[in-house]
Subunit: 417 residues, 2 copies
């Protein structure tokens, strides 16, 4: 059963059902509810259609304590939220003169108020209006039946957010005084798959408070630790031992506990050591350099790169001997090594990384399939040759992205040694 | 009442209820359903909780013909979709050996299949599995009760989209043969802002059939032409004159009428001319080369690039005279020109592009603000020097991306002359 103490979100608008826009309102409201520690179990999207809207309103009134709606409060005929909420709970609409005054004040004195805007001043009998200081549509807080309140906000994100801050947030805090606070922290891992990671911590993944949940993206796995508690302090005290435990279990697979990326971590590590980096790329085609240079301040340590998409460039710029390419092929350990050495010499950097591989969709064969990538990392006193097979089922762009993650991660491991 | 002939979308994942991520899957699927002309009236989001998921599944089975779910098919214990669907409709799970073989084939032969992945091979009895060619989790098409089918897809967007294209789309077209057909075509424009574009065509934007709607993204505006008709042919006949009209109005601002990117268009144009390209990048840090090399077959015409993030590299590799840098500064027209000329000579290509600019967040001043970018394009018999001011209010990454779009677009205009 759905908990009837929960807060539900309902976004109203045919443009959402047509896929014209992303539902950023639902994400924003959900995040705010999580921060307030309010129970939120369900989100619904429905179009500008009063029959279907009525059905959803009735369902919500049976399973939730509060329903927050966005959208459908505008002045045009397809904006049906207010009148449908009223008719669903068999209540008449009453014109609120103070709202008309408020809307009038928002237009130029000479401007004649369009009839459409007068519609926005009609609220269900008994409803409280929510001031909208940045637009014309007021919101509504209304308790049509026992233990069920509808909060209606406009769909325009800036108006919705302002009304949330000015009115709704404090209303909810008063209405849910005994809620628990949700505190959470995300740890980021690389060099390990989601399933391999999960297999190492089956008990932790079923822990109750804090909970630990994995999320995977390309080349990276996140573990989100979430605690419920009376105070933020208590929440942090629940999270800390779990965080330490996970870091201990996964060692160097853990790379960041905040919003830092692999690239920004490497730049920080190099900056601390006063060392510089250059990169020689073939199959990644510039995306390793591009990933590094998205980080502000990367120019402190990153001197540049060469995209050698062609064997002649590998020879002329990086000094890779033709014999090496002919003997081992452009995608080979020896060529990667020669590229890295040439790069480091030409750009006179402390470190260099070289990548050469087969990103597809063409160019693979049995001995060198699509997804085969050769890396070489060269420092003053250390070097490493790495071969990866990312799998020929992967797309060109995924192989390029995985190669970038792997290259950055291996350099990170070097710098941490 | 909700029409029980409709297609409903259910996205499963606590990260959506916590507001951690935008629900881009719902938007994408909704857009696809609209293109297919399928009735879509409701979207729901629920967390990784089997009781609440069961309740939503039962509700959906009463009001819709097809329910498409995304998420919760992964290998970890919080992925509950398959087992909850089965238990909701009181059906046992059966291990499908062919899926285990398929998953095994996706790992390196020496790799031991984690137990968690075996879970992904268990499907409700009677369900059809949907192949996943880019990941391990298969999807499901299952009709547990009369007139109600559940289609379950993974939450990873790239996997979901591929499975949609390969299997789900044709299944839906067979299942809903008599729908009114929606035909649409997207035209892509660059070098013009959304509002400037909209201002030129106020009447077209209120046209009824076909409709024309603008969507803007960084450096690009799309116009989507959508027709409703009984047949695809009829739809195309409605779209064609509108397409011609828009192309005539916007001339060379129009660059593509399908899924081609600026980079793929340039590669095609160069390939036809039998010409080659190299790039010298400073502020874009490799992202111009990276954008070009995401296109399969780009190696036919793109020989490579130099990321000269440092003045010494500009001198040593590209041969930019130190005096030029000292006199005009690294971000200047003369330095951009010298970089392009040096690049073209060193890499021996027909064309070269050079970019140098201030991407921020530091490094700007009154005469050279953040967002100032200098470009130089050099061909055998032509060249162009371009200065842009993208605005110092913009983020580093946005300035980098806009620079890439502008460089590609100016080369396109050259190649079309």
């Amino acid at each position: 059963m759905l908990n009837n103490q929960g807060v539900e979100i309902l976004c109203i608008g045919s443009e959402l059902l047509l896929g014209n826009i992303l539902n950023s309102n639902a994400k924003w409201l959900a995040e705010e509810l999580a921060i307030l520690g309010l129970p939120h179990y369900l989100q619904t999207v429905v179009g500008d259609n009063s029959n279907r809207l009525e059905k959803v309103l009735l369902d919500a009134s049976k399973r939730s304590r509060v329903l927050i709606t966005t959208g459908g409060l505008g002045p045009t005929p397809d904006d049906l939220t207010t009148e449908t909420i009223a008719s669903t709970f068999k209540t008449e609409l009453i014109e609120d003169k103070s709202i008309i005054q408020d809307i009038k004040g928002k237009f130029h004195p000479k401007f004649k108020l369009p009839k459409n805007n007068i519609k926005q001043a009609r609220l269900p009998k008994g409803a409280k209006s929510v001031p909208n200081t940045s637009g014309t549509a007021p919101g509504i807080i209304w308790t049509p039946i026992d233990s069920f309140t509808v909060i209606s906000l406009p769909g325009v994100p800036s108006e919705m957010k302002l009304m949330w801050e000015q009115t709704i947030k404090s209303w909810l805090c008063k209405e849910f005084p005994f809620r628990e606070i949700i505190t959470s922290k995300t740890l980021k891992f690389t060099g390990i798959s989601e399933s391999a990671l999960a297999e190492k911590i089956p008990e932790i993944l079923t822990n109750k408070n804090p909970t630990v949940a994995p999320y995977a993206s390309l080349g990276e796995v996140k573990l989100r630790i979430t605690a419920q508690s009376k105070t933020t302090n208590e929440g942090n005290n629940l999270i800390k031992p779990m965080e330490d435990k996970l870091k201990e279990i996964f060692g160097l697979n853990f790379f960041s506990n905040d919003n830092q990326s692999l690239a920004s971590i490497i730049i920080d590590l190099l900056r601390k050591r006063g060392e510089t980096l250059s990169v020689a790329e073939s199959c990644t085609g510039g995306s390793l350099a591009a990933t590094i240079t998205t980080v502000p301040g990367s120019s402190d340590v990153f001197l540049g790169g060469v995209v050698a998409y062609n064997n002649e460039i590998k020879q002329n710029i990086l000094g890779v001997p033709l014999e090496l390419i002919e003997k081992y092929g452009a995608v080979s350990g020896p060529v990667a090594k020669s590229m890295a050495l040439g790069m480091r010499k030409t750009f006179r950097t402390d470190w260099s990384i070289a990548i050469t591989g087969i990103a597809g969709p063409k160019g693979g064969n049995k001995t060198k399939p699509i997804g085969r990538v050769e890396f070489y990392i060269k420092g003053a006193n250390s070097n490493e040759s790495i071969q990866e097979n990312f799998g020929s089922h992967r797309s060109r762009v995924d192989i390029q992205k995985l190669s970038v993650v792997r290259a950055l991660d291996r350099l990170r491991l070097f710098l941490l040694k």
